[in-house]
Symmetry: C2
Subunit: 381 residues, 2 copies
């Protein structure tokens, strides 16, 4: 805003600007490494979403007692107030789930008596509230729009089990719950992506955690960010069979169109979140009779590898999470909401970290309009 | 995210980073100049909030016909759907107005059949919807929490008149409406402040205008941003009389405490938004029997000028808008919501402008945590 523009650094899109330090997640795009304190592959194979969230919030793995206290706290926060259940069923049935989720998470603030308490303890409690209640908000809205009775949470279940139970009205198999859990782990954090960064701008005014997460949901919604996994599924549905894959992909190339679920602004190697998920996606497709879908996905990967693998374009996390969610029987337009249900752990972790050393985020703007224009009276315009 | 950190520029808080170009508002903090295409002082003296919004959206003053079409469009959008009126009265009465406003604006998206239409025309229409309906959301919630009947908008009134009418249940005097209108003009835009910037991060994923404004409201809410005018009023209420002002201010200095409503990260000269507002605040205080309050404000300004005027610390826009809103009989905890009701014109104008040349805003993060930590089984922790 100053006229002293010579001291300014211009970076449209902030592609090369470091806006903060963080010890939460490390991404090495060249080598395909993602670490949340520990490696993402280790977590996907050995951990749970609850434990990974503990890791993001406290920056270390919990002891057995700490983990059981933490999960008990989550479980005791699953249920919604009557006001919130009522609000879900009052929403228009044709509303899109991300708009509904953004509104419902924002509404959670209205019944929190300490909503504007800025202490770290209160911020942890609010983060816990949102983490635990988002599955009920998403599953509840999906059942409401289908005209089904809402299902109250199972206070003994994990977040993954509980979500599938509230969504479908029946307990998931162990393998289904594990697939869901892995997807939640893999989406939990990813550096300063746009939604995380937007939540930091919000919290940097010393606003509150509900505002920050509401911001993040609205930002994740965009097709350049969280909307991609839904796009993968729409693409897969357009391909008749595994035999049509090759010509479909080649036609896309000929038309200069993007193949959804491939490539990433950050990764130039295999997306480390896709490796283990791919194995799991196959198993779950087999269990649920969706092998034709999985075969199509695998074939797309083969054709893509042949054509552009040398350029560092590989499947990203969206590619195999799409087939996994589809095999689990989840509606396509819920995919981005599931992303939010997972990423809330990363959003809140980053906000909690940023607040420890808060600085208002207020960038500069290069004004390129006119100056000293006169106000011309309307009768003379 | 890359390991090639040498190409990176670090700027915590983005104090010296230009993130985009804009022809919307020019701020020269050294000389105390703010221009929205035209000068803010001209607009405050001669224009209306409706006309200023037209100026921000279309970057020129309207002809008489254009202005009358524009205001007719605003008026025809004032009223809410039955669903929205019902939602207002279903909210907890003790909710804080900014949380309620964020939730209600988010809910406007749920009944918009073209909510995710990305065309500029649709984005203009959504901006119009929010601009026109926010007064009813704020006034409606205030009456609901007080147990009063809600007042439907007056389709013939200006935004300022209509808001005061829906809030108080009676038509405002001409001078009251003009005071409200001036406050709306003066708060309409202010470069890349945190709430505007946060809304740009949201829209940069090609999310939608409702998400962007919801983000902005949550960001404005923070005490380091829009929460300041409420703070001014709390301070004024703590001072018994004009005779206690000098010792009150000196005591604050002695305790190293801030005087609310003075100084600004950008302005080192008199805040150009405070000049005309000060004159008007005096008139309205006189009309409404609040001269004691105004005299206290004037005295604070005198003492501050004597003590720190030489350092470039002057009253900012919050200082006199606080006394103006108080004289208009508006509750203290609505002040920031009024700020939002005005700034929505700037937020939407900036999003519309940014989308003409969109680039995803995704900054970098400097990871300072550990690497290659092993996953230790829980039994060994």
């Amino acid at each position: 805003m100053s006229t002293a523009m010579q001291e300014m650094h211009t970076d449209i899109g902030l592609v090369n600007t470091i806006v903060a330090r963080s010890s939460l997640s490390f991404i090495n795009g060249e080598e395909g490494i993602l670490e949340y304190v520990g490696s993402i592959d280790d977590l996907a194979r050995n951990s749970t979403f609850e434990e990974s969230t503990y890791l993001l919030w406290y920056r270390r793995l919990p002891s057995r007692t700490e983990l059981s206290d933490f999960t008990a706290n989550i479980c005791s926060n699953y249920d919604l107030s009557e006001t919130m259940w009522d609000m879900i069923v009052s929403l228009p049935r044709d509303a899109s789930p991300m708009h509904a989720l953004r509104t419902l998470v924002s509404a959670l603030a209205l019944e929190d008596p300490a909503v504007d308490d800025p202490s770290e303890e209160a911020n942890m409690r609010k983060s816990m509230t949102m983490l635990a209640k988002m599955p009920a908000l998403i599953a509840g809205f999906d059942r409401h729009r289908k005209g089904l009775d809402l299902v109250r949470p199972d206070g003994e279940a994990t977040i993954a089990e509980n979500f599938l139970y509230m969504l479908n009205g029946e307990k998931p198999t162990e393998r289904m719950a594990r697939a869901m859990d892995i997807c939640l782990i893999l989406h939990a954090d990813h550096g300063f992506n746009a939604s995380t960064f937007a939540s930091l701008v919000t919290i940097s005014t010393l606003s509150d955690m509900y505002s920050a997460v509401t911001t993040a949901i609205g930002t994740l919604k965009g097709p350049l960010h969280g909307g991609a996994n839904e796009g993968v599924m729409h693409m897969l549905q357009k391909i008749d069979s595994v035999d049509s894959v090759d010509s479909f992909v080649m036609q896309k190339f000929a038309n200069n169109e993007k193949i959804m679920g491939f490539g990433h602004r950050v990764y130039k190697a295999y997306d480390p979140r896709a490796t283990y998920l791919k194995t799991f996606a196959e198993g779950i497709a087999q269990d649920t009779g969706n092998m034709a879908l999985f075969e199509k996905s695998k074939k797309i990967e083969e054709v893509m590898d042949r054509e552009v693998g040398a350029k560092g374009i590989y499947p990203n996390v969206d590619f195999y999470s799409a087939t996994t969610y589809f095999s689990l029987g989840i509606e396509l337009d819920l995919f981005t909401a599931l992303f939010a249900m997972s990423r809330v752990s990363g959003w809140t972790a980053h906000c909690l970290e940023y607040l420890q050393n808060n600085r208002l985020i207020r960038p500069r703007c290069d004004y390129n309009g006119p100056h000293e224009q006169e106000y011309v009276s309307i009768s003379l315009r």
